[in-house]
């Protein structure tokens, strides 16, 4: 049996990849994929912990996270299409009408 901390380490690495991708990538779709990667790292860690505690609630949480990720993607892609229609670009650096 694979020990728990292997799963947790993998989950932490995936999460770190997601965060890094979010921070350094410039294409909106890639940024979006990084967010999905973060959520999947969360799922992995929930499932691993659910197996550790022998409680199902962690696995149930995973279903909800998946639903949320799907909903977020649906809304997100719609917003991305709206942005593309008005600007013809998918680079976040060129979406800069509102100054920081």
């Amino acid at each position: 049996m694979v020990p728990l901390h292997y799963y947790l380490l993998l989950s932490a690495i995936l999460f770190a990849c997601g965060v890094t991708g979010f921070l350094i990538k410039r294409n909106i779709i890639t940024i979006f994929m990084s967010i999905e990667l973060m959520l999947n790292a969360v799922n992995l860690s929930f499932v691993a912990f659910a197996a550790r505690w022998h409680v199902l609630s962690g696995q149930v949480f995973v279903f909800f996270v998946m639903v949320v990720a799907a909903a977020e993607t649906a809304v997100g892609l719609a917003i991305i299409i709206a942005v593309y229609r008005t600007r013809e670009t998918l680079n976040v650096d060129q979406v800069n009408l509102l100054k920081l």
Binding site: M38, G76, V95, L97
Partner: protein, 512 residues
């Protein structure tokens, strides 16, 4: 097994969830009815949403009355196997959300016609986001809290980008979506670590297990990582510096009525969730999170007050001002979780959120009313000389601004008063001094708007016309801002009432 479900969930559970169920039904109803409405009848959607809010309020009042009848005997009603806790604290927030949504709908009706985006989905999304907020306030299980958070957030992303052909609105929605989803990811990771440490999704159980865990292992790095990631997610949602970057952009680009809605109801929901998690689940980690809170609070007050000084866009200025208010409220939480916990701090936050709902929505209502077909009306030049164009509105705006600055006898004063009082009670004199100093900064940028309204010449001299709905919204917010200031007792007692059970239950049961 079809019979099994009825053994798990009683009819009482559904009574507790009735406010949310009713709102969902009305939101779905709006979506259906909107399909059949000819364009000139679109205003029916706003009415339907209003009726939905009224029914939901009635359901909340029903639970409220149950508490009143039961007296002090009943601790709190929980449902759905402990995952939903509609206690007095939750009821207080339910009222805040319903009022916020109601006023936002009043502000939107005419505004959407000007923007030519008068669709039923707008109102349905407002109702759905209120359902999400209620789940956040009443959730006592991290699953329900997370679902509520996402329901609210996803509805708000769409609302921010509702003006599809407006480039600013699109951009605001995109930024809000990306940073919101990012923060949700971090928050969910923190929740998964908390679940891993404690083996439970219930906040009460998480708190109890975490207390044992922290006694055995006070500097466990996993526990600290869980605390940091969870609180990062929470700070993102209430827009505390350094996690605030989305707020000014989202506030500036969103339809003005939605900016108002976000700055009060969405923020209040974030606070409800934050207070629940910090004061029950994470409470055993108090010695670690208080320094974190002090840092975030000071950074928030400093950054937001300085950034607000130079803004020329009214919505952006008010966005920074709303971040600054979050800084003051965080001070209340610091007082509420210090070694001798002071209930005044938490009560101060609740009073603050209440008065903030009215004064900030009022200010945004005035800005919304400046919108015309050819004028966006959110620059400081657009409000110049408002006293000659619409004297009543200019005076109301002055009242809202003075209240935001915390000048007695207006409502905003009492929010700040309780926060500062709690800081002094718990011996945080330096923090209180810093906060008062920044309150003076606040006065400067609010008075800049007042100066433009009263002292400068109008750029655009056409008089401002008010729709009846907007006049109602302005009247409600104006009367509430002045009324709470003159008769604060009732509202302070309401905030105290909402904590009457949460206090011993959450602050002392975990205290050994």
């Amino acid at each position: 097994m079809p019979g099994a479900i009825s053994q798990w969930f009683s009819a009482g559970d559904y009574l507790l969830a009735l406010p949310m169920i009713l709102l969902s039904i009305f939101a779905l109803g709006i979506l259906l009815i909107d399909l059949m409405l000819p364009p000139e009848w679109k205003s029916i959607n706003a009415w339907t949403a209003g009726i939905g809010l009224a029914f939901s309020t009635a359901a909340v009042i029903r639970i409220h009355l149950a508490y009143a009848r039961a007296g002090q005997g009943v601790l709190s009603y929980t449902g759905f196997m402990g995952s939903m806790m509609v206690d007095r604290f939750a009821i207080y927030f339910f009222y805040l959300f319903l009022v916020g949504a109601g006023i936002a709908i009043l502000m939107s009706a005419h505004y959407l016609e000007i923007e030519r985006e008068n669709h039923g989905e707008f109102y349905a999304l407002i109702l759905f986001s209120v359902v999400g907020m209620m789940c956040m306030a009443a959730g006592f299980d991290i699953v329900l809290i997370f679902i509520g958070l996402e329901l609210m957030a996803i509805s708000t992303y769409v609302l921010v980008g509702f003006l599809r052909s407006d480039r600013r609105s699109n951009e605001a929605a995109l930024k809000y979506l990306l940073l919101g989803a990012f923060s949700s990811g971090i928050f969910a990771y923190g929740l998964s670590l908390l679940y891993g440490l404690t083996g439970s999704t219930n906040l009460q159980l998480i708190g109890e297990h975490l207390a044992t865990h922290m006694r055995e292992n006070p500097h466990d790095p996993i526990a600290i990582l869980a605390l940091v990631t969870t609180s990062t997610g929470l700070f993102f949602k209430i827009a505390a510096i350094p996690f605030h970057q989305w707020a000014p952009d989202a506030y500036e680009g969103a339809p003005t009525s939605i900016t108002g809605f976000m700055s009060v109801a969405v923020k209040a929901a974030g606070w409800a969730m934050l207070l629940r998690i910090f004061l029950s689940g994470l409470y055993p980690m108090r010695p670690i999170y208080v320094p974190l809170l002090v840092f975030v609070a000071i950074a928030t007050m400093t950054g937001a007050n300085l950034a607000a000084l130079t803004q020329n866009n009214l919505k952006r200025l008010l966005a920074y001002s709303s971040i600054a208010h979050v800084g003051y409220m965080l001070l209340g939480l610091i007082a509420g979780s210090s070694t001798t916990p002071s209930a005044t701090g938490i009560q101060g936050i609740l009073v603050y959120l209440l008065v903030y709902t009215f004064m900030n929505l009022g200010a945004f209502a005035v800005i919304t009313s400046l919108r015309r077909r050819d004028v966006i009306g959110d620059e400081i030049d657009d409000i110049a000389g408002l006293i000659t164009r619409a004297p009543a509105e200019a005076v109301l705006m002055l009242i809202f601004l003075l209240s935001l600055a915390g000048i007695p006898p207006l409502a905003g004063f009492y929010g700040k008063y309780f926060i500062f009082l709690s800081l002094i009670e718990t011996g945080h004199y330096q923090l209180a001094a810093v906060a008062v100093l920044y309150a003076v900064f606040g006065l400067y940028y609010y008075m800049r708007i007042a100066n433009a309204m009263f002292m400068r010449k109008a750029v655009d001299t056409r008089p401002v016309t008010l729709s009846p709905a907007m006049a109602t919204a302005l009247a409600i917010t104006g009367i509430a801002t002045v009324g709470i200031g003159i008769f604060p007792d009732l509202f302070i007692r309401a905030a105290g009432w909402s904590l009457s059970i949460a206090q011993p239950l959450q602050l002392t049961s975990l205290f050994h």
